[in-house]
Subunit: 181 residues, 2 copies
DNA sequence: GCTTACTATGCAACAAGTTGCATATCAAGT
DNA sequence: ACTTGATATGCAACTTGTTGCATAGTAAGC
């Protein structure tokens, strides 16, 4: 049920529609929890049924109408309770590492290519992270409490990304020592 | 279908039973791809049907009989083909980071506790990783090709783990500045 | 004799997540 | 006129993963 709670987390500060949520899930909270729009729409309806969210339709000109969801008192309580619950020990599945177990002189070049692509992607993401940090999280100790938490998530992303870049470099160097057939 | 390929990867060097696989998935390859025994047994049967694996029953004394699976030629080919395919950009979902978005003076102590627990767990895991590295991967450049790949996966685990420890320390320090109510 | 733990495989129900498609309005470009 | 893209929501089928339970033999400790 983590998706439900991630959605509620995104709704703490603003009431949002499914479309807006799925857009936001591509940035910010979505860095740490992604979901497709199909999943989000379904989950929103389930949560409204449960009483965690209330919905209202907003008529728009020049655009289709949208359904805006907001946290109810019950939703707030459920979210707070969830934070206190035990966190499942993390999944950490990575196809690329499994693929590396199959390294051979045949596929070394291909894997190096995949690693390079991921490295580039991570560079772009890190650039985004750093930009957010510079603009909003200069001095973490001075932030209001909730923002400190958000900062820590961002810091985790940055550290992970930097570590990943270093690993990519190590990997590419070692793959270069694999002789081709 | 990554589980199928992870299983085949585990079967490259040895023929194994479902039970042995699910044990191995708690270490080695399982560091990067876990699965419950239920999932493994099901997947094994499906793969045998597809012709990627063959099975034979082994009678044992003092223990229940077991079913040993081995890679077929088709399995080998499917595995090699998979390595060349595109890797889905990774998931990276972490409940704990979502929880941090909900940081408040009420729950700061609880979250610090969760982080401490994870830190301890990671310490134990890193100890294991380091032990494996010391014993089997002293000089990566001299390893045979396939082992180089395995080493790189291990190196990724070690780097990630070390980065995580550093993050935990940063997080705990910042959480300590949150005043209790 | 009893409990606990390990070996070994499996079913069934459910929850979570993916893929492909469908619909509809409007703005902007060609 | 026609296409593309953004906004906005949704269904249906499917795959993947989780949870809880069931069975059954043996070994070791109390």
């Amino acid at each position: 049920m983590a998706l439900a709670h991630a959605i509620m987390t995104a709704l703490i500060e603003d009431d949002l529609s499914g479309y807006e949520l799925s857009r936001d899930f591509e940035t910010s909270l979505g860095f740490f929890w992604q979901a497709s729009h199909q999943q989000i729409y379904q989950e929103l309806r389930k949560m409204a049924e449960k009483g965690w969210l209330d919905k209202r339709e907003v008529k728009q000109r020049g655009k289709p109408n949208k359904i805006i969801y907001g946290l109810t008192k019950e939703g707030h309580e459920a979210l707070n309770a969830w934070v206190y619950g035990a966190t499942r020990t993390q999944v950490a599945k990575d196809e690329l590492l499994v693929k590396l177990y199959n390294l051979s002189s045949d596929n070394a070049a291909h894997l190096a290519g995949e690693i390079t692509a991921r490295r580039d992607e991570m560079m772009r993401r890190l650039y985004l992270y750093e930009k957010i940090r510079r603009h909003h999280y200069q001095d973490p100790a001075l932030l209001p409490t909730r923002r400190k938490g958000v900062y820590l998530a961002l810091a985790a992303g940055i550290r992970q990304g930097e570590q990943f870049l270093a690993w990519c470099d190590e990997a590419l160097a070692l793959l270069a020592t694999v002789e081709e057939t």
